[in-house]
Amino acid sequence: MAENTEANRDAKQGMALALAIWGITIVSVAYFFKYGLPELASTRTSQDTLYYIILALTGFFYIAVQVFLGLYVWKYRHRDDAEGSYWHDSHKLEMAWTIGTAVILIPVVFAGLVVWQDVKAAPPEGDMLTIEAVAAQFQWDFRYPGGDGEFGEWSPELYSLENYLGVEPDDANGADDIHMINLLVLPVDQPVRILLRSKDVQHAFFLPNHRVKQDVMPGIQTMVWFTPTIVGEYEIACAELCGLGHYRMRAFLSVRSEADFQTWLTEQANQ
C-alpha cells in the first residue's frame, strides 16, 4: 500500500535523525578532551574552576537533552495509534522545570559573582608594580615608572612621531621612565597592575594564558591586575577589532624570576 511505504520511508528518516543527533553528541563531546584552555600561568585559578563547573553542568544537560531528543524521535517515529495522547498540561511538571532550572543556576550566578569580585575588585594593598600599557594601531607600548616609582605626566597634545607616548619632557618624574615596544617583562609571583590607555580606537588587552582580558578605550583609563606564576614567554593579543592590522597587533610577555627581572630593569635604566 502506498501509505505504508510512505510511513516506512518516514520511519527511516526518524531513525536517521536519531542516529545523527546521537553521533553529533558523541563526537562533539569527545573533542572537548582534545582542545582546552591555554595553559594557566597566573593566580586566576578561580576563573578556570568556574569554567570547568559550568562545562560539567552544561555538558550533562547537553548530553541528556540530545539523548532524549534522539530517543523520542527514534521511539515515536511511527505509531499506528496515538490515542490517549491528548495530554498537554501538567502544572507539576512545568513548575518542576521552571524552578529546577532556577535552583541549578542560582549557585552558578553566585559563584560567578564571587569570582568576579575576586578578579575585578581593588588589587591587594601594598607595594605593587605598576606599568602603563598604551595601545595604538597596531602596536602595544609599555612604560615602567623607573627607580622613582612615578610616571612622568603625559598629554595627547604632545603626541608626535618622536614623542610617541606624549610624555611631558620637563617632568622630572618621567626622566627615568622605561619605554618598551611590544615587549612586557614581568617578575614571577608578584602582583602587577597595568594601566591601559588607547591613543586612537578601541583595542582589547588579552593575555590568553593569564585569563586577562580588558578593553582599552580612548578617553577612559582602564586597569587590570594579576599575578603571573610561571616563568616563560607568552603572547599578548588584541581582542577587539581595531582596524585592518588588528590581526597582527601582537606583543610579547616575558615572565622572569625576580633576580632576572631586576637585572633586566637595571640594564634598561642604564641605557
Partner: protein
Amino acid sequence: MSEGHDDHDHGKQSFISKYIFSFDHKMIGKQYLTLTMFMAVIGGALAMLVRLQLGYPGQHAEFWEKLFPAGMSQGVMTPEFYVMLFTMHGTIMVFFVLSIGPVSGFGNYLIPLQIGARDMAFPFLNMLSFWTVLPGAMIIILSFFVEGGAAASGWTAYPPLSAIRSAIPGSALGQTLWLIGMIFFVASFTMGGLNFVVTILNMRTKGLNMMKLPLTTWAQFVVGILGLLSFPALAAGAILLLFDRSLGTSFFLPAGIFIGDELFPHQGGSPLLWQHLFWFLGHPEVYIIMLPALGFTSDILSTFTRRPIFGYRSMVYAIMAIGFLSFIVWGHHMFVSGMSPFLGTVFTMTTLCIAVPSAVKTFNWLATLWRAKIRFTTPMLFALAIVSLFVTGGLTGIFLGTNAVDIQLHDTYFVVAHFHFIMAGAGLFGLLAAVYYWYPKMFGRHMNEGLSKIHFWFTFLAYYGVFFPMHYLGIAGMMRRIYDPNTYDYLKPLQPVNTFITLAAFVLGAAQFIFFFNYFWSMFRGKKVVSENPWEANTLEWSTPIEPGHGNWPGELPEVYRWPYDYQQPDEEGDHAPQWQAPSKVGTK
C-alpha cells in the same frame, strides 16, 4: 478548486498593483521573502570568502583579482577586504535576512491568515515598509562599490573606528552609507512592528481570544513590541554617529584621539555610550530573530507529532518573559568594556534569568514529543533540528552570561559559535522550516520531497560541522575578526580545525542551491496541492482556499471555536479538530 479565484472580490488587478505596489499582506510577505533570499545569497557568499581566507590563509589564485581587483589584488585577499567581508556578512544576515525573513516575511504573510482577518490593519503602511527597506538593502549593497569600499568596523560599528575616516579605509563613504541603510531599515521595521501589534490586538476574528492564538502569532506579537521599543535606540545612535562623522560633534568621541599624525579636536564624548545604545537594540534584536522561529517550531512540532503542544500557557509566558528580559541584559556584551564592575554583576543576574524561560520551552517541546505519532516531513525535520540547535546554543550562553567566565571567552570564536547556534541557527532553520511548511499555502504547490530531504541532511550535518568546532577554537583562545590566526604561535596548531570548518562551510553553502532550485522550480513544476489543508493542521490559514485571493476568505470570515492544538481531542472524531470546527458536543470547550 478552479483557477481564477484570485480575483473574487477585486476584479482584475494590473501587474503593478498586484505584484509590485501591492497592498495584499500575502504579496508583501512574498516580496520580503524574495528580498530575503537575494540578500542571503550575498551574505552567504561573503561568509564563504571569510572562510576561504581562514581555511587557507594567504592562498593565491589569479582569478580572484578579476573578480575583486581591489580586495584581492594579485590574487591574495587584503586585510581590509577581510574586515569588510565579515562586517557586511554580519550586517546583511542579522538585519536583511534573519530579521526581514521570519518577521517581516512570515509575519506579514501569516498574521491575518492565522487571526482570521482580511489584511493587516494598515495595508498602505505595510506596502510602505517594504518599499522603505528595499532602498536600505540596495544602499548597503552598493556601498561595496564606493571609494574605500563598504563599512569595515564590524556589524557593531564601534566608534572611533566607525567615526573617523582615517581609522580604516571602510570608514569613508562606506560607513556613512551603512548608517543611512540602517536608518531606512529601522524606519521600515518600526512601521512593521506597529502594524503587527495593532492587527493582532484589534482584528482577531469572532471567538479568537488571545489565549487561543497559535504560538507563531504570539511570537510575532511580542516581536512587534520588541521592535517598536528597541530599534529607535539604533536609529538615534546611527544619527548621532552620522553627526560625529560629518558635523564634528562629539557624542562618541573623547578628547585625545590621535590617528595618522593628526590629533582630533573632539571633546567629551564616550565610545561606551555607543555600546549602550547599540546593545540596547542589539540584544532584543537577537530575540526578534529567534522568537518567530521558536513559534514556528512549536506549531510545526504540534502538527507533525499529532499532539497538542505541551504547556501552551507556559509557552506564552515564556515568550513574554524572554521579551521582557531581553531589555535588561544588554550589558553582558560589555563585561570587559571598562564599564563599572558593579554593572557586570547586575547584568550577569538578569542574563542568567533568561535560561529559565528557555529551559521551559525546551522541556515543553520534549514533552510534546513524548508519546507522539511523528510524521517526518521536511518542516518537521527542520523543527526537530531547531530543538537540538537551541539546546546547544542556549547552554553555551551560560558560559558567556557568567561575567567571570566571559573574561576569557569574550570576543573569541566561542562567542561566534554561540550566536550561530542560538540566534542564526534558530533563525535560519526557522526560516527554512517555515518555507517548507507554508509553501503549499503560498504557491498552491508542493516542493519536491526528495530535494527537500537532501537539502535538510546536508544543511543539518554541515551546520554542526561548521559551528561546533568553533567552540574549541574559542576555548583555545582564538580571537574573532582576525585575518590570519597564524600570526600567533599559540593559534598555529588550530589551523586543521579552521580548514575543516571551511570545508564544512562550503558544503553548507553549496547545499543551499538545492533549496533555491527547489523553491523556484516547484513554483511552476511542483505537485499541485489538492486539499486546502494538506498537513491536516488546525490553524486558520488552512481554512482558506488553496490559493487565497486578496481578502483571504471568499465569503464570511471564519469563526473560531477552539484553541489551535486540538489533536487527539477525545470528544471529537478523527485525529484533529481545526479551530474553525464547531464542537460536536454541547458543553465541551
